[in-house]
């Protein structure tokens, strides 16, 4: 019995080590490359560890290539779209979770928004391209904000609905019985209680907006409104790739969502599975 357990333990350890290496090594190579000097890129056999680590590639990308503008665009568009998605999702989720609207309306909202999860963005962006140009929002951040808002609304609705369902109706009811108006009960009871849920949903929606590429790629044309992933795409697809600059762009693109993910780790799986997986 004991022997088998030991063997099992060895196998487990080996499998996990292999998995970790397979998953981590490409990321190590990304970071290592982003710290190399230009000269080191042309070594006959690429060096596994940067010989003269430097942050210069980050400066090249953000300053010389002007990616700081794209970074700012991304942050503005994503914050705007996140705020809008959360506000709209809350306006939809409040009635369907706290007020006696019919079950079929509730089912419609949830079903309809879930169905959007299965819609390929490319099919949507073709008509959006025409609309956005027709109303003068092509190559404008507000155009992106509208599209992002709609696209991540299902996620926001499902997350907020989950959080609001968990707050007992009785708590608000008690305030109402005490003579508070519904608005007061909402403001002083429900809103403070749902703050964590709102923040978690906002973080995850923001991370998804941040990662979005196709819409920005098609609906923007110049650095005036391009987002960061579109810029990074340019570094990967150009004829002669400058490895360290490209890697630095990649590291920046990864860093922000990763920090957010760690902050919101309790709610990530709930969000990604539309509430099927929850905290015990």
């Amino acid at each position: 019995m004991r022997r088998r357990w030991t063997l099992g333990r060895i196998v487990t350890t080996a499998v996990l080590v292999v998995a970790v290496v397979v998953f981590v090594f490409p990321l190590y190579w990304l970071i290592a490359t982003s710290l190399k000097t230009k000269a080191e890129l042309y070594a006959v056999v690429p060096t596994l560890v940067p010989q003269n680590p430097t942050l210069a590639p980050y400066g090249d990308v953000l300053v010389d290539r002007g990616f700081s503008t794209l970074l700012l665009n991304s942050i503005i568009a994503d914050l705007g779209a996140t705020a809008a998605a959360i506000a709209i999702a809350f306006a939809i989720c409040y009635p369907i979770t706290r007020l006696p609207v019919s079950r079929s309306v509730r089912a419609f909202v949830l079903n309809w928004s879930l169905s959007l999860r299965f819609l390929p963005p490319i099919a949507v962006v073709i008509p959006y391209f025409t609309i956005v140009r027709a109303i003068g929002l092509y190559n404008q951040l507000p155009g992106l904000i509208i599209v992002y808002t709609i696209f991540n609304l299902p996620l926001a609705i499902w997350m907020l609905r989950g959080f609001l369902d968990e707050i007992p109706l009785e708590i608000e009811e008690a305030a109402l019985v005490d003579g508070a108006t519904r608005w007061t009960a909402f403001r002083t009871v429900l809103l403070p209680l749902s703050r964590t849920g709102i923040l978690a949903a906002a973080i995850i929606v923001f991370a998804f907006d941040w990662a979005e590429f196709l819409f920005a790629f098609i609906l923007t044309a110049t650095p005036q409104s391009m987002t960061f992933p579109v810029g990074v795409q340019g570094l990967v697809t150009q004829f002669e790739i400058i490895w360290n600059d490209m890697a630095a762009g990649g590291v920046i693109a990864i860093a922000l969502p990763l920090l957010l993910m760690i902050a919101a780790r309790r709610y990530v799986m709930t969000g990604l599975t539309f509430g099927v997986i929850r905290e015990k």
Binding site: L30, L41, P46, P95, V109, A123, A207, A253, V276
Partner: protein, 310 residues
Amino acid sequence: MTSPIAVPELTATTVAPRGRIHWSDRSRQERLGYRLLLPTLGTVVVVATIPFLLAVVQALTSASGAFVGLDNFTNALGNAALYESVRQTAIYAAVVLPTEILLGLGLALLVHRTVRSPAIRAAIYVAAMIPIFIPQIAVGVVFRLVFAPDYGILNVLLGDTGRNQILWLSSPPLAMLSVATVDVWQWTPFVYLVLFAGLQTVPSESVEAAQVDGASPWRQFVHIELPYIRPLLLLALFFRIADVLRVFDHVYVLTGGGPGTTTQFLSLYLYRVGFRFSDLSQASALAVVVMVAMTIFYTLISRFLPVETR
């Protein structure tokens, strides 16, 4: 006992109890509900539906705006390149989906059965979330650095940097394999996390009873664990199918659909028709077909999705 990063014990529910209270002034509350809900919901549904209607209009007209009936649909559906892209997408799905499900399931079972330390479990939980949160474009960057000739780490590790090195991204069967590998790299952890959470819901009494009866690990899986995680397997599978059918970003930056059209999946094909050949009418016809097909697909599978839409 304490892990460096506190991580919740996850569980899965498919049914949540939901009480309805009886308001004395129910109808007034109900009216308030609709007054709050309908304007917002109406606007959102309209804004989200306009693209579909516009795609239909655009698909029925030429670039100059003249009504052309179903010509664009005939062109779009008569193009052999469409079926080629569907075929490539199917191959991609056939490689990627079983691999991710089996690997994810295998890892979930392995960790569930053998790793007891909460700290290690927590570390694996956080580590598994990392790939999910890497933007697809950055995943493209990462794997450029893996697969590229000369600087790519894969050929470096294979000791293969000379003239005849393997071109992972630009020789036909390998390009498909490479972009599929990237998908597996990024999404196996998602499948793992979903199924691992599912395994947590299996009552330990049933497992212990089976072990007392001398059930083999395989029988224990098939008869006890599988029934519990079946809904989550479906969930992971459906979400992965949805993502595989829309795959674009990492393929676009890694191969651009090439070499030739060997990795030109459905989304890349629509992109090429609409924005490379600037044939928005034909692209709209394709978009309408895709939207209708996906709606039918969603309708078919939504009954099996273990998601609570009540």
